[in-house]
Symmetry: C2
Subunit: 399 residues, 2 copies
């Protein structure tokens, strides 16, 4: 089954907004085993929209149109779809009431323009989920279908998950489910991981299910995606879990988390489970370490605070000593269980360019690491931070 995505809006073509909706939709379609072979952006122009949607419908079984459902005169997706279906628009008074209530619940008044949003092509039906003021549409055309969703990402996603993906799966007659899990790694290259997994990848090439794919995600490490196809969700999950176990035994502790878990989420969870608190000291990473931790630990209950100062990179003594002292001072100043310091080498340390000293003090026990990191300044800062967090993670795992 093939489903194209048409993103509608002149602002997309002018580059005022990046079309991330199509990417998300493409990812979701792939996960349920539906091909999305073309994705098109078109402006708010009747003829070009009609041309594009007709063309997409010709070569696919389904089309998802994203955008152009708002209340202004620019928003003409409803009219274009009615023309393609060869039907007229009828105003759905129940939807008008729903829109009016949405406005009133926020203490605002619905304008007449908003009533246009309740115009439904004859034969189409509104999508039940309606988080905003724009109803989505399911528009059958022969044995094909056009779906219309608003361009507001969270509204689009709610409708995709609540109505469109299940409807597409039903139409495709595909009873198999496809599930995937991402293993997040840090500390090895893509080719290094591929080498460690080479035998298993060869086996899976023969088996065909599950599959493994690598995905470099820059400063957040390399992802290993396990994808399984099975008659039902439970079986798919079981296949994935078995494969995850196997891969963990091959790759060991370079795997720091799964799916959307970031390094800092994992660390904060580990500290939380152990009832431990953390303070940090940073030099040229300039607050990035603190801001990443506090973004997750919003109340700063585990990550208690930190300091940002090039002082930890100055002085007469070796840089590694400065970092060790800063880790202990952070722990003492904030009265935490752990203190983590990350300092970059000075010229007098006579270390290669990009050298970072990481020091950790856990209840008085020191741990240190010296690494050399690549990248321009901004990448280097982020590498230094994730590397320091990974050092803390590995120390906690080992201890």
């Amino acid at each position: 089954m093939r489903c194209e995505v048409v993103a509608i809006g002149t602002e997309l073509l002018l580059g005022q907004i990046v079309d991330s909706n199509s990417s998300w939709i493409g990812e979701q379609l792939a996960l349920v085993g539906i091909d999305s072979l073309f994705q098109v952006k078109v402006g708010d122009n009747f003829d070009r929209m009609e041309l594009t949607i007709r063309h997409a419908l010709d070569r696919s079984d389904a089309v998802i149109c994203c955008g152009g459902l708002g209340p202004t005169q620019d928003d003409i997706t409803r009219e274009v779809i009615a023309a393609i279906m060869g039907v007229k628009l009828n105003r759905d008074e129940a939807i008008v009431d729903k829109i009016r209530m949405g406005f009133e619940s926020r203490g605002r008044v619905m304008t007449d323009n908003n009533k246009r949003q309740a115009d439904i092509p004859e034969g189409a039906s509104p999508i039940a989920q309606m988080p905003g003021t724009a109803p989505g549409l399911v528009c059958p055309i022969g044995d094909k279908v056009i779906y219309c969703v608003p361009g507001v990402p969270h509204e689009m996603r709610t409708m995709m998950q609540g109505t469109i993906l299940p409807d597409l799966q039903r139409r495709s007659g595909e009873t198999a489910v496809i599930r995937s899990r991402v293993l997040r790694t840090w500390g090895n290259s893509e080719s290094g991981l591929a080498e460690q997994l080479a035998d298993r990848i060869n086996q899976l090439d023969t088996l065909g299910n599950p599959t493994l794919a690598f995905q470099a995600s820059g400063m957040e490490g390399i992802k290993v995606r396990i994808t399984a196809k099975a008659p039902d969700e439970g079986t798919a999950d079981a296949i994935i879990s078995a494969e995850e176990g196997l891969i963990r035994s091959l790759l060991g502790d370079v795997i720091f988390g799964i799916d959307d878990e970031s390094m800092e989420t994992v660390i904060l969870n580990m500290l939380g489970e152990r009832g431990m608190t953390l303070a940090v000291a940073e030099g040229l990473t300039g607050g990035v370490l603190s801001s990443r931790l506090s973004e997750i630990d919003q109340r700063m209950a585990i990550f208690r605070g930190g300091s940002v100062s090039t002082d930890i990179e100055d002085g007469e003594r070796p840089g590694s000593d400065c970092a060790a002292e800063a880790a202990t001072k952070a722990r003492q100043d904030f009265g935490t269980d752990a203190g983590l310091a990350v300092a970059t080498a000075r010229p007098q340390d006579e270390q290669p360019r990009g050298t970072v000293f990481v020091s950790l003090d856990i209840n008085g026990t020191p741990y240190t690491q010296t690494v050399s990191l690549p990248g321009d300044r901004n990448r280097f800062r982020n590498y230094a931070v994730i590397n320091a967090l990974n050092f803390l993670r590995k120390t906690l795992v080992g201890g």
Copy 2:
């Protein structure tokens, strides 16, 4: 003149990468007055690529193909273009040497695969700019043209600016230049700005040149874009500068910078010009203030450091007093001219939700501000930071 953009790569359809290249290209085309009416994403598939590019070429004067120029077997843009041109590929040995030297300069060895990147369709010419290992291509077809650029953003941008945009302008015969300048504002709503500029916008609607457009850019404030069309660059710049002067007189100091200047860039420049240094103290903003300043001031020569601690939000005294004390302590601890503290209100402060105390100590003189900010936690943090920086900016302007 019409130019379509075709983004090539199965990973784009699968949502593994968001296609931000097309948006950027669309923006650049608009700035030189070239319409981009359709933008398409297609996977690494010969037939579908050929179909898509032919279709784009049929209805436009030029097509920019982005991606598929790498060294792997997936990268088949060269072959597809040769088929569309009806010519064969010739290996350009000068380009092979250039690729080899690129590898050698980084201490690496070129593989045989990379030689494929030097295959040029007969009649096409390589683009002079070549920041990576993939040469871009200019492929004339009758009086139309296909450009090929790599998907790596900085390589694509270099080729667009160095070759493709000038070539398109030459081809379009459009001798007028279009230039724009963005005025960055903070502290007023879009409707508030529109009201202040209403009379001028009405005048410009009649005049037609320059034009004004608003663009909300979320946590970075609202942009006012001035766009002018003129016979030459000098005249366009003069029109823009005159308009900028007029708008500045109407909007006053809500304008903090132009084009890509961020709030922190502006502040660090202002401090630098005055020979001043800065230290900060943060509570629940958790390091965001420090990391934003240190991202610009890479050596931390002006921004000297800071502390992150919820201590400045604890205690018996009013929150505004805590913030004032923290600002002075930051200035003293780091020996700087200015200390800036941002603290969120505690329940005992009996302030509205989202209240932030901003305190500034400039050489012993205190300045304070209490504001209430909207947004969920992450937006709130960023609003609090940019608001604190804006308070510092306005104080420096006023002093």
